[in-house]
Subunit: 341 residues, 2 copies
């Protein structure tokens, strides 16, 4: 079984975008927000949005199950206020839940969190709980920078985030550290902001004692861990100079996906990071959609790079399946139960 730990519903029907525009036009007016009609999307429209995209790519590329979340760049936590963000998260998560109900073998949900600059992280916990307990989701995407590129929130190791972490631990629901759109013109979203956030989060984990307080808390750092594997020597050296524990101590809690879009990058990742800390991910349909003229295949067909690597079969199997089952305990339990039916 091939589990893709990182897929977004980037192809949602246009009614979702129309709703978002209507929502933004409410300009944070609570009455107008409450009066908004939720996007009307039929099951057929959902099927159509997926059949020619994610489902087609799953079949073509040979993956089975995608850990699926709302479009990351559209979370845009910097837009509107807390009520706007909560409503938008609910609408997006409900739509992903419908995807997962229509295609239970192909998709399992991970939620967008309602976040807003300056709002306590505790306020995100209820939507996580709703998604896990009512919609059957297995984790969340946590935005370390709800400001959209101005980085006004405290580090992920700060107690600001603890109420959310308590809920994550209680629900056994890991988070992918995932920023959203950048409204800072210096940062291209998928080319700079995403990668920077990944790098930044890992360094925060080195500096802090978060996993002493939450020994079972788990994070996936996407996009191959940002710059981290490439600079693994730098991070080992910094931890050593700062008299912090060796990086291996973080690896019970921190994992990396394989959204790295060339063979040499994947080879580095597989060489530097222990196999048990790598989860297959493609980010599709996502950041890069073209075909690499050098390989003749899509850049984001990351399964090919892992297939082509020199790893033994057992290691590939862990990356493709075993690690995702372990890191997302709710997924592991569900797949086990399904196999026993």
């Amino acid at each position: 079984m091939i589990i893709d730990c990182h897929g977004h519903y980037t192809t949602a029907p246009k009614a979702l975008e129309d709703f978002r525009e209507a929502q933004i036009a409410c300009d944070c007016d609570a009455h107008r927000l409450a009066a908004l009609i939720r996007p009307r999307i039929s099951d057929d429209e959902i099927r159509e949005s997926l059949e020619g995209a994610q489902l087609k790519l799953q079949r073509e590329r040979g993956s089975d199950l995608t850990v699926f979340s709302p479009r990351a760049s559209a979370m845009a936590h910097h837009v509107g206020d807390e009520a706007t963000s909560l409503q938008w998260s609910q609408v997006c998560n409900d739509l992903v839940a419908r995807v997962c109900r229509l295609y239970p073998d192909n998709f399992v949900g991970v939620c967008q969190l309602p976040q807003s600059p300056g709002v306590p992280a505790a306020h995100s916990a209820a939507e996580l709980e709703r998604c896990v307990t009512e919609l059957g989701f297995i984790g969340c995407n946590l935005n370390p920078d709800p400001s959209g590129g101005f980085w006004t929130a405290p580090p992920l190791t700060d107690r600001h985030w603890y109420p959310l972490y308590e809920k994550m631990v209680e629900l056994d629901a890991p988070a992918m550290v995932h920023v959203s759109a950048s409204c800072n013109p210096v940062f291209h979203a998928t080319g700079a902001h995403y990668i920077n956030a990944d790098t930044t989060a890992f360094m925060q984990f080195i500096q802090g004692d978060l996993f002493k307080d939450f020994p079972t808390l788990k994070f996936i750092i996407p996009h191959g861990g940002g710059a981290v594997p490439y600079h693994w020597g730098r991070y080992r050296g910094l931890a050593q100079d700062m008299k912090r524990p060796p990086l291996s101590e973080l690896l019970g809690n921190v994992f990396f996906d394989t959204c790295v879009y060339h063979q040499a990058g994947i080879d580095l990742l597989l060489k530097v990071i222990p196999v048990e800390n790598i989860l297959f991910g493609s980010e599709m349909v996502g950041a890069v959609r073209g075909i690499d003229p050098e390989s003749g295949h899509n850049y984001d067909d990351t399964k090919r790079y892992i297939d082509a690597s020199a790893l033994p079969a057992a290691a590939k199997s862990a990356i493709f399946e075993g690690n995702a089952r372990r890191v997302f305990p709710r997924l592991g339990a569900r797949l086990k139960a399904r196999a026993n039916i």
Copy 2:
């Protein structure tokens, strides 16, 4: 000859730090700043600060000449005002100039620029000119984020920077893109802010048309190019999706150093980036000072990784010497003149 393109005067005598503290205590009062006594540092103190550090490491590790600039993390352009930053830059650059005069075979100067948040980049040009024409420097360090981690300046491709670029082109003086300390608690300076800035700058170059306007402008992106080589497929794919020119078109203007502190990272860099775009650099005495227990050698002894790579001798020679002579034309000319004496 082995030229290290990236060294900082991180071991300057304490009088420099004392001066900085006195300067900060002036609290931007122009009269008090003007009345400050420049740090009194003897030639012997300078020699002592280098003999046990940079010079010792040059000898031990087998490098000859270091492209030397003031301590990057101490530039702290977010501290004080424009007058503070100008004075601090002059003092730091003058001290590096003394180093280069005392050890003309071992060091060649690159200047810190006076920058401040919100201040026109044109105001940095005079100090660059002074350093190049009066002190014999060959380039500058350009901070793309004088705010120190809040990223309030426009992208490097914005016309904001053009007056400085005009001076760089006129003087044939390239810039290393180098941020300074982070005053944003989310960003560890050397572990996140530095690497993020490298990644960010490269993505800006992909997005903009800067090198159409300045065909001879040259930038070195330090720390092995941040995350860029590791995500080379992502950047190739993004450029393609955005209908931007192929990355190869940037490589007449953009270069990477080798400040990557493990063999696997260097091997990736050498595999992905053309040899002519890689300049040997160590960042020493710098970000990581310890010994890697896995290799038994200092993390930042980056020459070892290049020596140990599978590159042919001519390619190693380009990385160690030829590329630096070409990218820093004033260095090339000086070394040529020296050889002809």
